[in-house]
Symmetry: C2
Subunit: 147 residues, 2 copies
Amino acid sequence: MNIGQDAYKVTWLVRRLFRAMAESADSYLGNNGLTAADRAVMEFLYPDTRLTVPDIARRYQVSRQHVQVTVNRLLDTELLINVENPRHKRSSLLRLTQQGRELFASIRRHEGALLDDIFAGLKPEEVAVTRRTLETLLGHFLETHHD
Amino acid sequence: MNIGQDAYKVTWLVRRLFRAMAESADSYLGNNGLTAADRAVMEFLYPDTRLTVPDIARRYQVSRQHVQVTVNRLLDTELLINVENPRHKRSSLLRLTQQGRELFASIRRHEGALLDDIFAGLKPEEVAVTRRTLETLLGHFLETHHD
DNA sequence: TTGATAATGACAACTTAATTGTCATTATCA
DNA sequence: TGATAATGACAATTAAGTTGTCATTATCAA
């Protein structure tokens, strides 16, 4: 019974957990001089994917101008480099530098350790159920709001 | 097995679901000329709680100046009224007007219907497991990041 | 009771992470 | 080839906050 109570609480928890996760991420990314947008861009390129700015913008679902600014900052700090794009002269491909790849790998390790800690003690089946439930919810949310 | 994969996916889903929920909320709140901050403030006062601006700021964990602006807007649109504060002459208590209470109730009904839709088809046990899992995660996140 | 300290509302400036608009340049394709 | 679309750069704007400051008003310890 009372699925309504649990349903409401689940949505509340999603909101609260998002905030807690964002704070935690801001803190360890900030220690490396990165923003959340930097991390997102780097994730698209890790470990050795080559994409243009508009490619990343389409995948990240964010304006290309915003990605451009983020990418330019990462080029300045030499976490990314331009590589020639055979398909387009002006729009070069972006690639992680060795330094960028190592930094992202260390971020991944940090996140992995954090998750291990945080998920320790939960039963695998419970986590699997949670995953499936959230996937279902996301599906419904996206189709209800159809975007 | 692979709790690691599920763990990572759960955190991804929390982020994605948060965005989907926020978009959906912005859309129906916007239809009523409200922002997310307006809704949050109204929730603290619903159905008939009386709080001052600094009280709300402390509970909402947000600066009192920001709450002040939000509250002033809600006073302008007559969704809130000031009532005298026996404990403080300058800092009056805030209360929902009849109109404000009705609007918030209708928002609640809308949200309830949306949740019923979205959670229909999920088994109550699954939702309960999800709730407990997310509660555990939140607990760990808060103590790990200790705030 | 008073006098130092804290709380409050108002206002302004700033911040962050984004968006939208515009331009010149360069690609693409019918 | 010529119209249309894509790209990078730059600027202005936006949303939802924060921080700083001021004058006023409370509160509390001596």
